[in-house]
Amino acid sequence: MNRKLQNNLFYASVGIAVFVCSLILLFLFGIIIWNGLPALSLDFLTNTSAEFGASGGIVYQIFGSILLIIFAALICLPIALGTAIYKSEYLKNDTVHKIINTLIYSLNGIPSVIFGIFGLIFFVNILNMGISWFVGSIILSMMILPTVTLSTYQSINSIPTVYRESSSALGLNKWQVIVQVLLPQGFSGAITGLLIGIARAIGETAPIMFIATAFSGVEFPSSFLEPVSTLPTHILALAQQATNPAALQNAWGASLVLVILVIIFSISALFIRLRHQTISKR
C-alpha cells in the first residue's frame, strides 16, 4: 500500500478513536449532571430519606460517607507514615525493599469485593463485631494504605541527603532528624496521598456493602458498632428498584452529590501537590 495513504488512514483511525472517547466523556458527565441537577435542592441535602428512598433527602447518607472516610484516613495515616519512613530511612537491603514494594502493589491491586468478603469473615464473624461503620472504616483504610504510603515515601525520599547530613552534624539523632526535618516536608505528600485515597474510598460500594451499611432505619450512630447508610450503598439500593421513577430520580441526585465530593477531594489533592512543587522549586 501507498505510504501516504497508510499515513492518512492512520490519522483517520486516531481521529475516530478520539471522537469516540470525547463522546463517551461528554455523555457520562452530561448524563450525571442532566439527571442529577433536577433532584438537587436544599431539602434533598438536609432531609432524611423516606419511603425507602423514593422521597426525602440524603443527609444521613452524606454523613455516613464522610464518617467512614474520616476514620479510614485517621486509621491509615499513622501506619502509612511509619511504613514510608521505614522504607525511606531505615531500609538498606534491596531484596527486602523489593518484597515490601511487591506486597504494597499487591495490596493495591486486590479487588474491592475481596476486601468486602475479608471484612465479613474476619471482623464481622470471627471477631464478632457485627455490621458496623467502624469495620467499614478499617477496611477502607486498608484499601487506601498503598496510595498514602507511596505518596508519603516519594515526598520523604525526594528530600536531598544534605538535609539529613547537616542536621546529624548539628547533633540530632536519627529520630529527631525524622521528626523535625523530614516529616514537615513529607507531610504534604501524606496529605496528597490521603486525599487521593479518600476520593477513591468514598465511592466504593463493594467493600462496605456487607459489613458497614444498612439501607433503612439508620440514624446517626451512637457507638462504634452500628451500621450507617452511605451514598454509594444508597444509590445501589435505589438502582435496584429502577422501575420506580421517583427512586431513580433520587439515585441520580445522590450520584451527582457523590461525584461532586470525589471531585472536591481530587482537586484539593491536585492543589496541594502543585503548591508543594512550587515551594520546593524556589
Binding site: 505510504r3 501516504k4 497508510q6 492512520f10 486516531v14 481521529g15 475516530i16 478513536a17 478520539v18 472517547c21 463517551i24 466523556l25 457520562l28 450525571i32 439527571n35 501506619i79 502509612a80 511509619g82 511504613t83 519512613i85 521505614y86 531505615y90 515490601i100 514494594n101 506486597l103 502493589y105 499487591s106 493495591n108 491491586g109 479487588p111 474491592s112 475481596i114 476486601f115 468478603i117 475479608f118 464473624n125 494504605l145 498503598p146 496510595t147 507511596l150 515515601y153 536519627k174 529520630w175 521528626v179 465511592g203 460500594t205 463493594a206 456493602m209 456487607f210 444509590i235 445501589l236 438502582a239 429502577a242 439515585a251 450520584s255 457523590l258 461525584v259 471531585i263 481530587s266 491536585l270
Partner: protein, 291 residues
Amino acid sequence: MLGSTNKIGKYYVYGSTLISAFIVFLIFTILLINSWDAISIIGLDLLSFKWNAATGEFGILPMLFGTFVVTFISLLIAVPLGIYTAIFTSEILPSKYRFVVKSLLELLAGIPSIIFGLIGIAFFSIWIQDIFNLQSGRTILTAGILLSIMILPTIITLTDDAFHHIPDKYRESAKGLGLYKFEIIKEILIPIAKPDLKAAILLAFGRALGETMAVMLVIGSIDKIPEPIYNWLSPGQTITSKLGREIAETSFGSVHFSAMIFMGLLLFILVLILTILSQNSLKSSNGRLYE
C-alpha cells in the same frame, strides 16, 4: 530520654511496616482457611457446570466463563480505542494541553463504579434491549461494554505516559530519515514502549476482573454458560457479581459459603499474578502507583 524516643520511633516504624506487609498475608490466609471446606468436601466437582445451592452442586465454571468473557469484551473494545487515543494525546496534541487531558482522564477514572452501574441500568441495558430486540438488556455484552468504558482511562493514561517517556531524539532522527508519523509510531515508538504497554494492558485486565458493582447490576445474574457458547446476548454471571449478590445471604460456615469464598480466593490469586506481572513489566520503577 533522647535515646529512648529514638528507640520508640524505631519500633513504631518497624511495627507499621509489619502491619502493612501483613495485611496481604492475612487476607490470603483467611480466604484459604474459609475455602478449605469447599476444597475438601466438593473437591473436583467445583469444576463443573452446575451451581445449585439447594441440591449441593457448586460448579464454578459458569462464573469463571462469565468473568473471562466480560473481561475479554472489555479489553477488545478498550485496548485499541485507548491506545489510539493515547497516541493522539501524546504525539499529535501539543503538550501544553496535556495537563487538561490528564485532568479529564483523572475525572473520568474518579467516577465511582456504582454510578457506572446506574448509567448501565438506565441507558446501556435499554439500548441493547432495543437494538437486538431482547426480552431483557441485562446481558454479558452489556457488562462488557460498560466495563470497557471503566478501564479506558487506565489504558489511556498509562499508554500516554509510556509514549511520553520516550526521548524526542528518536522522533527527530526518524523524521530526519523521511518517515511518516505513522511509520515513526509503528516502527520506533511502539517497540520502545512495548513493556509499558504490556503493563498497562495487564493492569487494566486485573482491574476488569475485579470490578463488581457495575457488572453486578447489568449482567443479569444467571449461573449458566449461554447456549451456544458465543451467544453473548444472554445473561450470565461473573465471580464478582456472584459474590456481591449472594454472599450476604449465605450463612457463615456452610459449604455454600465456603464455595463462594473459594471463588474469591481464585479471583484474588488471578489478580495478584496480573498485578505482579505488570509491575515487573513497568520499566519506569519510579514508585508511582498505577491503579
